[in-house]
Symmetry: C2
Subunit: 450 residues, 2 copies
């Protein structure tokens, strides 16, 4: 299985409140030393990559304002992840760097140039997490009147990747970069092509400004959970990131995307599925539970409610955390399914909003000894999950615990690599694939036929 | 005086043909090791900064096509400079990183975020070289029908910097980032402001996504030589980069910009002027001349003609390098002044196109012993030049020669620093200034009054 260190360039990514823990280094997120240390921890644990999430704009409002977003650090402030990569790359040799770039954030011509530059500098260790932004505020900060409608965002994403594919795959032929010192020829203009893209949103002449990088197209990741998102992933992604909860839920999502991928002419093993989980590791179950309880003392319920509000699109700000969940079924119809699940599985009809919040974080939390955690990961593996995005409770404690204690057990069981495979990120994730995407991926149609 | 290592993320920046020299490492420009080595050379020489030029798009056409641009590597291919910075920053402690970002290249909201991120990661060592792009091809690759007219580009730049100033200076008050672990408060929303910019080209809600970085606004550089460019520099720049040739030419330009700066209410010492020069260093004059002759064997006349054509806006492609210059006076009226200068000073009426090209490179080349080079630099100093952007002939040989042989002589004469001043790039360049821009700079009007 593959393992990624999952994080955002922000003081509080997912386990809100944990930045206050005395051992947390989250507040050092603007210091390169923290990032270089994390890259080294990840490489020590033979993780495949650091997967850098991002949010381009403020989270949705809560209690009618973004006060709680700021006070409780709900992924705000948030710095640019791409700027961290070259320092981490220079301190490592095999670790991959998957970073998020929203189609909202940069023109594809500029983005393609930056991504190719990074693919060179890392010797082919770059992955791109393609996202269509959800932040209304982010849209308005980029001059768009409001959020672009969901399906339209995916049509936009389709054109965006098309432009990047043309630049990465079609602009330079393989032997265009000559570098002939004796003849004094750097590159062969007959083998470098303007792309002359003219589409609905973009008009791009080209050529690509960067010579072909090891992977050309970075390894492609996606995390969309909507039907438009899954269709996009099925067509384009080489890795899909999910936060599904129990293994059965992962399995259901994997089946859906694989079916769509088959329709798009892609093979069942061309997409890797990664589940987001966090871990609390102890040398005994009891120690792990004690550690979890200690972590939970730092939990920030207000931040969680703000996140939950943003996620479900209902402002939970008016809800008392101790209010019975049954009340909410009426006021927040969009949550009915989840609420019913909590009522059924947690505390029956006395369940409160607090129980809902606890449920929503605990569904992606695994607590135990390295052995019991490995057992749980095996369940995900059996359900068809190819890898885990390790989310943090403590930065960087969660990652060091996993790298130093869980990975060795997984290695014993043959579930985690002991050494890196050679080559680019793509070759490491898909052994035998070669550094470039295969011929049945949409990129292939933009290559010049030889 | 200040000294910068001047370079572009491309295999051939200025001394075209030198990439073929056996000792050149220019072809390694996509390898981080080269950049980390250069940062260390620069810091060893107590240089103030690495100044990274950029070109966003292809150079102008030559012989009616861009074939020569590709074959002779006229600043093509060209990778993204910003991606190099964190690796170089992590390998150094005091060196500044001045990088070029064209207003064409990125939306100001995205750019401001990246620049603030870098200013954090480098602990305040970032400078921004503001450019309005000149590449017609670059414009067309970003969806603009053709090049934007010159003065209009500076109006665009004016709005662009205004947006960034609002984000950097006006969005977060000084004490907005609370980081109070005990109270569980990350930041104070009452002290973080949306900017709600509505201008001709941009509409930006804000807030800035990054908490205030050490300098907030990166140290600002500019290189415009036109009147609109000089007016912009006078108003905004803290450093002006020139390639003027002899010291008297530098002095004339400095006087012009200083007069404009005074009109804009800025003091005579608020702008530093840097001249671009390259150096060939020998232990004797004779050795230096021999080395120069050896370097000149690699000189690529075709590339030079392409560059000269782009610079003067006349396609020199039809000119035989051995054609008498007198012929050209008729066909290229825009060059009359320069041509007459070469005829007058170089070889009289037998001067050829080749002489013109040699003249244009030699005017920014200083050849000699460390002592005679220091003498020449003193002449620039006496003419009011505050610093030198060291352009390369050999990468990285030119820089190591300068750092190891010329700098010690300049230090002896009190013209180069022996140790770095503490603090941010701004504080290093303007001792006693504090990390942020002063109150008579336009940024000040975007600050919240306390």
């Amino acid at each position: 299985m593959l393992f990624n260190l999952f994080i955002m360039n922000t003081p509080s990514h997912i386990s809100h409140g944990m930045w206050r823990h005395p051992e947390s280094r989250s507040l050092e997120y603007n210091d390169l030393d923290l990032w270089v240390d994390m890259a080294r921890i990840a490489e020590r644990g033979k993780f495949d990559a650091i997967f850098m999430a991002d949010i381009f704009g403020l989270y949705g409002e809560f209690r009618g304002s973004w006060d709680a977003i700021a006070e409780h650090a709900v992924q705000f402030p948030v710095s640019d992840p791409s700027m961290l990569i070259s320092a981490m790359a220079h301190a490592t040799s095999d670790l991959g760097f998957i970073y998020t770039n929203s189609i909202l954030q940069q023109h594809p011509f500029s983005f393609a140039r930056s991504a190719s530059t990074l693919d060179h500098l890392t010797k082919g260790r770059i992955g791109w997490n393609v996202v269509t932004s959800v932040s209304k505020n982010g849209s308005r900060s980029m001059g768009l009147p409001s959020i672009v409608e969901h399906d339209e965002r995916y049509r936009w994403a389709q054109e965006y990747v098309e432009v990047t594919y043309k630049l990465w795959e079609g602009s330079w032929e393989d032997d265009a970069m000559v570098k002939d010192r004796a003849a004094g020829v750097m590159s062969d203009p007959r083998k470098i092509h303007k792309i002359n893209h003219k589409g609905e949103r973009y008009s791009v002449e080209g050529p690509h400004l960067v010579e072909p990088s090891p992977q050309r197209t970075p390894t492609l990741f996606q995390a969309g959970a909507s039907s438009a998102g899954m269709a996009f992933a099925a067509r384009h992604a080489e890795g899909v990131f999910m936060i599904s909860g129990p293994p059965q839920a992962s399995a259901a999502k994997i089946a859906k995307v694989k079916a769509l991928a088959a329709e798009a002419g892609r093979g069942p093993d061309e997409i890797l599925f990664m589940e987001g989980l966090t871990f609390v590791v102890g040398s005994t179950e009891e120690e792990a539970r004690r550690k979890e309880a200690e972590y939970d003392e730092w939990n920030d319920v207000e931040a969680q409610m703000a996140v939950m509000s943003g996620t479900i699109g209902v402002d939970l700000g008016s809800a008392d955390p101790d209010q019975p969940l049954t009340d909410l079924i009426e006021t927040a119809p969009g949550m009915r399914g989840t609420i019913q699940l909590v009522i059924d599985t947690v505390r029956g009809r006395t369940a409160t909003v607090r129980d809902l919040l606890a449920f929503s974080t605990k569904q992606w939390r695994v607590v135990g000894t390295p052995e019991s955690i490995a057992d749980k990961i095996e369940e995900y593996h059996a359900a068809g999950v190819d890898g885990i995005n390790i989310m943090s409770m403590l930065v960087p404690g969660t990652y060091t615990d996993f790298a130093d204690h869980v990975i060795p057990v997984l290695q014993e069981r043959g579930l985690a690599q002991r050494e890196y495979a050679p080559g680019t990120l793509r070759e490491k994730l898909f052994p035998g694939s070669g550094p470039r995407l295969g011929d049945n991926h949409p990129v292939a149609s933009y290559r010049k036929s030889v």
